[in-house]
C-alpha cells in the first residue's frame, strides 16, 4: 500500500486491492492489478503515467463512476463495495468533486446554473444563500463578472476555472482531477492548478490529480506513477533543461 511519508489521522479516500480489466475473453486487458492508495485531508496526490495506462479508469473507480472487478474503495471511512447506486450517487454529490481535461460544463446553462446544479446537497438551504455561495466561488476563480455567461462565451482557461469552481461548489472532501490542465497553455495551466491547490488547501480537501505535466506534478505533496496497473512512488530526476510538458520519464524506484 502506498502511504504518504507522514500520514496522520483517517484517510479521506482509501482504495485497497483494486483490480479492473477492460474487454472480454481474449481481448481482455488488465488495467489495474491489486492497486492500493490512501489520500489524506489536505493532501495533493499526483498520478502520472503514459497514455492508456489506466489513470482515468482509476479515477473513475475512485470517483464511484465505475465498480472495480475486485477490491474496495472507502470514502470518508465508508466502504462503497456494497453500496447501492443511490448511495454511491449520494456520496458523489456529497463528498466528491470532478474536474476533467475538457471542462464538460453543461452548454445549455449559465456558469451560475452549472454550479447550482452541482449543489444538490444544499437542499433545504435558502436559495439566496446557495446563490451567494456559487457567486462567491465564481468570484474566487476570477469569473465573478461572468456568472450569467454560457460556457461557449468563455475562453478555454475560463471554462476550466469554471469547471474547478463547479467541482468545489458542493464543498467535497475529495477532488478528483483528470488532466485538468491538459488542454491549456502554460500560463492558464499554472493558474488553474494554482486555484485547485489554493482552494483544496483552504478547505482541507484531498486531491487526486492525474497529469502529464511534470512541473505540475512536482508541486503536489506526492507523485505516484502508474505502471503495469499498480502505483509506485516517483522521484524526479531533474533534467538539465526542463520543459513544462515533457515525455513521461522512467520512474525511479525509491
Amino acid at each position: 500500500m502506498i502511504l504518504p511519508p507522514s500520514s496522520t489521522g483517517q484517510p479521506v479516500l482509501r482504495a485497497s486491492g483494486l483490480s479492473y480489466a477492460l474487454g472480454k475473453a481474449r481481448r481482455r486487458l488488465q488495467v489495474l492489478r491489486s492497486l492500493s492508495l490512501e489520500v489524506y485531508p489536505g493532501e495533493k496526490v499526483a498520478i502520472i503515467g503514459p497514455s492508456g495506462c489506466g489513470k482515468s479508469t482509476l479515477l473513475s473507480i475512485l470517483g464511484l463512476l465505475e465498480r472495480p472487478d475486485a477490491g474496495e474503495v472507502w470514502i470518508k471511512g465508508v466502504s462503497m463495495a456494497k453500496a447501492s447506486e443511490e448511495e454511491r450517487a449520494r456520496m458523489r454529490s456529497d463528498a466528491l468533486g470532478f474536474v476533467f481535461q475538457f471542462h464538460f460544463l453543461l452548454e445549455s446553462f449559465t456558469l451560475l446554473e452549472n454550479l447550482l446544479l452541482a449543489m444538490r446537497r444544499f437542499r433545504g438551504v435558502s436559495t439566496a444563500a446557495v446563490n451567494e455561495r456559487a457567486c462567491a466561488l465564481l468570484s474566487e476563480v476570477g469569473l465573478g463578472d461572468k456568472i450569467h455567461r454560457r460556457p461557449h462565451e468563455l475562453s478555454g482557461g475560463e471554462q476550466q476555472r469554471a469547471a474547478v469552481a463547479r467541482a468545489l461548489a458542493h464543498d467535497p472532501q475529495i477532488l478528483l482531477a483528470d488532466e485538468p490542465t491538459g488542454n491549456l497553455d502554460t500560463a492558464s495551466a499554472d493558474r488553474v492548478f494554482g486555484l485547485i491547490a489554493y482552494l483544496a488547501e483552504k478547505k482541507g480537501q484531498g486531491v487526486v490529480l492525474v497529469t502529464h505535466n511534470l512541473s505540475i506534478a512536482e508541486r503536489c505533496d506526492r507523485v505516484l506513477a502508474m505502471q503495469d496497473g499498480v502505483l509506485i512512488p516517483h522521484n524526479f530526476v531533474k533534467p538539465k533543461k526542463r520543459a513544462s510538458v515533457v515525455d513521461f520519464p522512467e520512474p525511479v524506484l525509491v
Partner: protein
C-alpha cells in the same frame, strides 16, 4: 426534482426545430381527432335526433298471425303451442283504440301517434313527383314529433285549421315548385284529391324532405280508401336507447310487429360507426407518427447529450434522475402538445361551422351539426398520453443505462 424539470426543459429546447415539429405533430393529431369526432358524432346525433323526432322510437304495425302446433307427450296428453314463425301477418293495426290502451300500459312509453301511410303521386300542375303520404292526428302527433320546429314556411295553426291542409318537405316543395298557399293534386291508386300547402318543413335528412307529405288522418283515409284500420303506431319513449328491448317486449306481448329506430336505421348507424372508426384510425395514425418523431428526437438527444448526462451522473444525479429527466420531457411535450391541440381543435371545430356540408341522400344544410363533447378532448389526451409514454420511456431507459465512467473516459481520450 425541481432541477430535473429545469434540466429536462433546457435539454428539450436545445433541439428547437425537432421538438417544435414533434409538438406540432402531437397538436395536429389532437386537433384533427377532436374535429373528426365533432363532425362525425355531430352528424350522427343530428340524424338520430331527426329520425326520432320525425319517425318516433318504435313503429308498431302489422299484426302477426300465430301458428298453432299440436303434439302429444309420453303420457298421451295433447299439447297445443303457438309460434310466430314464417311471414304470416295482417297488414296494419285493425283495432287502434284497444291496442293504444295496451301499449300505454308499458313503462317508458311517452306517447303514441296513429299514422296511415300510403304511396301517391303529387302534382303541382307543372311537375309530378312520387310521394309518401303520412296521415296523422295532429293532436297526438305534434306533441311527440319535431314537426312544428321543422316548419320553415307556414304554421302549425293553419294546418290544424284547414282539413284540406298539407305539410310538404322542403326538397319536395322545390321539386314541385310550390309554396304555402299553393294547391297540390294527390293521386293514389284509388282516388285523386286536391290539397292546399299550409306549411313546408325541413328536417335536414334529404330522404324525408324529398318525398314525405303530411295530411290529416281522415283525409288520408279518404285518399287511400281505408275507412278503418291499416294504420301503424309511431311510439315515443322516455329512453330512446331502450327502444330495441321495448320493441321485443311489445311484439311478444301484443302480437304486432314492432321495429325500433336502431333496427330501422341500422344501415345508417353502421355507416356512421364506420365513418367514426375509420376517421379515428386515420387520426390516430397522425398521432402515432408524431410519437415516432418524438421517439427519434429523444433518442437523438440521448446520443447527443451523453457527455452532459455522464457529467450529471458524476455530480451525483442517479439513474432514476436521468430517467426522470427524459420522462419529464415526455410530460412537457404531452402537456404543451395536448393544450395546443385542444385549442387548435376548438378553433378548427368553430371553423367547420362555416364549411357547408352536403351528403347526398343523408344530410343537407348550410351549417354542419357539430358535437362539442368533453369526452372527445379527454379521449384525444388519453391516446396522446399512451403514445408519448412509449415514445419517451425507451429513450429514458437508454439514457439511464449510460455508464458515466465509460462515457467520460471515451470523451477524454
Amino acid at each position: 426534482m425541481q432541477s430535473n424539470w429545469i434540466i429536462a426543459w433546457r435539454l428539450l429546447v436545445t433541439r428547437k426545430w425537432a421538438m417544435a415539429l414533434t409538438l406540432l405533430g402531437v397538436a395536429l393529431g389532437v386537433a384533427l381527432f377532436i374535429m373528426a369526432q365533432a363532425e362525425t358524432q355531430g352528424l350522427e346525433r343530428f340524424f338520430v335526433r331527426t329520425v326520432l323526432g320525425t319517425n318516433g322510437a318504435i313503429r308498431l304495425g302489422d299484426r302477426l298471425q300465430d301458428t298453432l302446433h299440436s303434439s302429444t307427450d309420453e303420457e298421451g296428453l295433447l299439447a297445443i303451442t303457438t309460434t310466430r314463425e314464417g311471414k304470416l301477418y295482417v297488414q296494419g293495426i285493425d283495432d287502434p283504440e284497444a291496442l293504444r290502451s295496451a301499449v300505454q300500459r308499458f313503462s317508458g312509453v311517452k306517447g303514441i301517434s296513429e299514422v296511415l301511410e300510403g304511396q301517391a303521386r303529387a302534382s303541382s300542375g307543372i311537375y309530378t313527383e312520387p310521394v309518401t303520404v303520412h296521415g296523422i292526428m295532429w293532436e297526438a302527433h305534434f306533441p311527440l314529433s319535431s314537426l312544428d320546429e321543422q316548419l320553415v314556411q307556414g304554421s302549425v295553426a293553419s294546418f290544424k285549421e284547414a282539413p284540406e291542409g298539407l305539410l310538404c318537405g322542403s326538397f319536395l316543395a322545390r321539386r314541385l315548385g310550390v309554396r304555402v298557399g299553393d294547391w297540390v293534386d294527390l293521386t293514389s291508386n284509388a282516388e285523386s284529391r286536391r290539397y292546399r300547402v299550409t306549411g313546408v318543413y325541413e328536417t335536414g335528412v334529404e330522404d324525408i324532405d324529398r318525398n314525405r307529405l303530411y295530411l290529416h288522418l281522415p283525409e288520408a283515409r279518404v285518399l287511400f280508401h281505408r275507412p278503418y284500420g291499416g294504420v301503424y303506431f309511431q311510439i315515443t319513449i322516455d329512453d330512446p336507447k331502450a327502444a330495441t328491448a321495448l320493441a321485443v317486449q311489445l311484439e311478444d306481448t301484443l302480437g304486432h310487429h314492432a321495429l325500433s329506430w336502431q333496427e330501422r336505421e341500422q344501415v345508417w348507424l353502421d355507416i356512421f360507426w364506420l365513418i367514426r372508426f375509420s376517421s379515428s384510425v386515420l387520426v390516430c395514425m397522425v398521432i402515432l407518427l408524431a410519437g415516432v418523431g418524438m421517439f427519434n428526437s429523444l433518442a437523438l438527444l440521448v446520443l447527443e447529450k451523453q457527455r452532459e448526462l455522464a457529467i450529471l451522473r458524476a455530480m451525483g444525479y442517479t439513474r432514476k434522475d436521468v430517467r426522470q429527466i427524459f420522462a419529464l420531457q415526455g410530460v412537457m411535450i404531452y402537456v404543451i402538445g395536448t393544450l395546443l391541440g385542444w385549442a387548435l381543435g376548438a378553433l378548427g371545430t368553430c371553423a367547420l361551422k362555416y364549411i357547408p356540408l352536403r351528403l347526398r341522400g343523408l344530410w343537407v344544410g348550410e351549417e354542419p351539426a357539430l358535437a362539442w363533447e368533453v369526452d372527445h378532448y379527454l379521449t384525444a389526451a388519453l391516446i396522446v398520453a399512451v403514445v408519448v409514454f412509449f415514445a419517451s420511456t425507451i429513450p429514458a431507459r437508454r439514457a439511464a443505462r449510460l455508464e458515466p465512467g465509460q462515457v467520460i473516459r471515451g470523451s477524454a481520450l
